[in-house]
């Protein structure tokens, strides 16, 4: 390794003070459960405004004033159109797709930490859009009047089935924020460091089945771009 920065990191890391192994006391698991219960109670007590964080998505549950203020997000508004092969090759996390569905019709990538897969109908209107967000600089705020806590493969999630505004923030040299109207149903969940956001016309049961069927896309199974 000739990279001086890599060597610098290796030298610092070599001094990490690992604690001695500590066998778990029997009561600790119960204490952790109690902490979890207190967190949930605190959320319930925070009515009428409740904030729930699912990965990089913060959901603000409160009365929504008027959804007419915002325009819906169309795929034409999404930057970073690419191919699934290029997205899988460049992403810093394993890009996934629903096992039972065909390959997405459109793929978008924004830096190397956000991948968006879209399935469209004959009129090019989106039927299902799957966001995969692993970014540290990205933050999404949804304002909804109601949401249902769900679990996707034991991971925490939320189901939103009412029109609502969603704001995407990207914190780079300058912070950018864009707000759009979401008309469809949305399932959000967080697993292995990646936030998933499935926007669809499907029902909750159908969306959960799609979510639980995600499998990593192997770039070797895809056709690389010519040249």
């Amino acid at each position: 390794m000739n990279d001086p920065f890599a060597e610098h990191i290796r030298q610092i890391a070599a001094n990490f003070p690992y604690p001695e192994p500590q066998p778990r006391p029997q009561s600790r698991r119960h204490r952790l459960r109690l902490v979890g219960a207190l967190v949930l109670l605190a959320l319930v007590a925070a009515v009428p405004v409740v904030l729930i964080q699912i990965g990089v998505v913060q959901v603000r549950i409160a009365p929504v004033e008027s959804a007419a203020t915002w325009q819906p997000l169309t795929l034409a508004d999404v930057a970073g159109a690419t191919t699934l092969f290029q997205a899988v090759e460049a992403a810093v996390f394993p890009v996934k797709r629903p096992a039972a569905l065909p390959m997405p019709d459109q793929v978008f990538m924004q830096p190397d930490d956000t991948v968006i897969l879209a399935w469209v109908d004959a009129d090019n209107a989106p039927q299902m859009v799957l966001y995969q967000l692993a970014g540290e600089y990205l933050f999404v705020l949804k304002q909804v009047s109601a949401a249902t806590p769900v679990s996707v493969s034991h991971a925490p999630g939320l189901w939103v089935a009412v029109p609502h505004p969603v704001t995407f923030y990207r914190d780079g040299a300058t912070t950018t924020a864009e707000t759009y109207l979401v008309r469809g149903n949305v399932l959000i969940w967080f697993a292995a460091g990646v936030t998933y956001r499935l926007e669809t016309t499907l029902t909750l049961t159908e969306a959960e089945a799609i979510a639980e069927s995600l499998v990593p896309v192997q770039s070797g199974t895809l056709t690389p771009p010519p040249g």
């Binding site: 610092i12 890391a13 990490f16 003070p17 192994p21 500590q22 952790l32 967190v39 964080q53 460091g193």
Partner: protein
């Protein structure tokens, strides 16, 4: 040191001394990776024990031509991920606004180098989980590209390119959150 293949073969025959020898040889890297991933000494100790239990349960299927350490660390990584997802992630996801900034459970020695390493760990934990794992394996545990590739089930070339990208990103985080760690 006794030839590792011979020790593994004896362990496959359920030789208790051979199993103990493998635990002695690999306990430290397994525990260290578990601790880096979950940040809790109790849980890391649990995961270490489970790693060896699971490994010995499947040792008859292990190909002795392969090195054992990446295989053990792969088990450790999977167990830590599952543990994380099952509880800690849930609580954190409900609680936090920003990404978690876990404090080390116990830092007994206050020497500057250790504080610096702990600070680096806190910055690394701002990375997405796959990039954290890469940094832990390559730089904290000092695994080779090939060993890291075996643990992460990736081609060595992919490990190299992802390491390059991850270091670039880590540098950005250091500049932003911990400029005192910059070279």
């Amino acid at each position: 040191l006794e030839d590792e293949t011979a020790v593994i073969r004896r362990a496959q025959q359920q030789d208790r001394a051979a199993c103990d020898a493998l635990v002695q040889r690999y306990r430290e890297p397994v525990y260290r990776l578990a601790y880096l991933l979950v940040g809790d000494a109790h849980v890391a100790d649990d995961i270490t024990q489970q790693t060896f239990l699971r490994a010995f349960g499947h040792l008859d299927r292990f190909d002795t031509r392969r090195p054992l350490r990446p295989w053990l660390l792969q088990i450790t990584r999977n167990l830590a991920r599952n543990r994380h997802r099952a509880f800690k992630r849930y609580v954190q996801a409900m609680q936090r606004f920003a990404l978690a900034q876990p404090e080390p459970e116990r830092v007994e020695t206050q020497v500057q180098a250790q504080q610096q390493a702990t600070h680096l760990w806190q910055v690394v934990r701002r990375l997405p989980a796959p990039q954290q794992e890469l940094i832990y394996l390559r730089f904290f545990l000092d695994l080779s590209v090939e060993e890291t590739a075996a643990v992460l089930d990736l081609p060595p070339g992919t490990v190299k390119s992802r390491t390059h990208r991850t270091l670039r990103r880590l540098r950005g985080l250091i500049d932003r959150y911990a400029p005192e760690l910059a070279p």
